[in-house]
């Protein structure tokens, strides 16, 4: 939770997570929109769509769930699953209602 925004370069970290995961493994990033107001020199990834695209390019099947909870506890989950068949030219992105 609240780590994705600090990872620089993001692709390097995402690739490392992908490498370590077994096929079918799951990565869940919890993100808070309050990060968008932080210093951009430190909060380097605050566009969740771009982050989802990076995950997808790394090979994950990406699911963007709706904002969960409310008020100070609200967060945007980004869920990636490593395909069981392995990397095959990029994963797919799927929005969950």
């Amino acid at each position: 939770m609240n780590v994705l925004q600090f990872l620089d370069p993001l692709r390097e970290y995402v690739d490392e997570v992908y490498r370590v995961l077994k096929p079918g493994g799951l990565v869940v990033w919890g993100n808070k929109d309050v990060a968008k107001a932080g210093d951009p020199a430190v909060f380097v990834n605050t566009d969740w769509d771009k982050c989802a695209a990076v995950m997808s390019a790394a090979g994950f099947e990406v699911t963007r769930a709706k904002v969960r909870l409310s008020g100070k506890s609200a967060y945007v989950p980004l869920v990636g699953r490593k395909p069981r068949a392995g990397k095959g030219g990029g994963g797919s992105e799927q929005a969950v209602a």
């Binding site: 939770m1 600090f6 390097e12 370590v20 077994k22 919890g30 932080g38 210093d39 506890s73 967060y75």
Partner: protein, 179 residues
């Protein structure tokens, strides 16, 4: 004269970045952001930790309950466990292995001192490994790796950067990342 000296000393103490009572959290956006990324032991770090406790307590439990289905055979890696709100929930599911990678030394100290985690991992052997890693290309630089090598079924590992820690991960049937 005494008042003037006191004001100067106080100003130096409060406004100098290396001071433990540096109050940059309130007026320096870069310092505030860095404290929120990896709270230090000073006043700014203390404020960041308190703020994170308020903001994260509910969401960190929710993400485990609603988005992760951790089972007994799983290996779970949590990047940035902070206060350990999610970690506590994950351990209740009794996965095979849990790795907690935390960049903040003050958070690592808090986690290591938590009696709940000590009980959960049933410490039989404690190995302390201290490693300093400096990587120019990564944001999470100059880090300390504190490794608690534990026997029995579960293992809690406190490390700082994903790279070196990941390389030693066992290849389990199912690894779940919570970040």
């Amino acid at each position: 004269m005494v008042i003037a000296v006191a004001v100067v000393v106080l100003s130096v103490v409060i406004f100098h970045r290396s001071s433990p009572v540096y109050l940059g959290f309130f007026f320096d956006s870069r310092s505030r952001a860095e404290s929120l990324r990896a709270p230090g032991p000073g006043v700014s770090g203390w404020i960041a930790r308190k703020l994170m406790a308020i903001v994260n307590a509910e969401s960190n439990v929710d993400v485990v309950e609603s988005l992760l289905s951790v089972h007994s055979g799983h290996t779970v890696v949590e990047l940035g466990p902070g206060h350990g709100f999610s970690l506590r929930e994950i351990l209740r599911k009794e996965p095979a292995h849990v790795y907690a990678i935390e960049v903040s030394e003050s958070f690592r100290s808090t986690l290591a001192a938590d009696s709940d985690f000590s009980k959960a991992v049933e410490v039989l052997t404690l190995t302390l490994t201290l490693t300093v890693t400096r990587t120019l290309t990564l944001t999470l630089t100059l880090t300390l790796t504190l490794t608690l090598t534990l026997t029995r079924k579960r293992c809690l590992r406190y490390a700082a950067t994903p790279g070196p820690a990941f390389r030693s991960f066992p290849r389990s049937r199912s690894i779940v990342f919570l970040v």
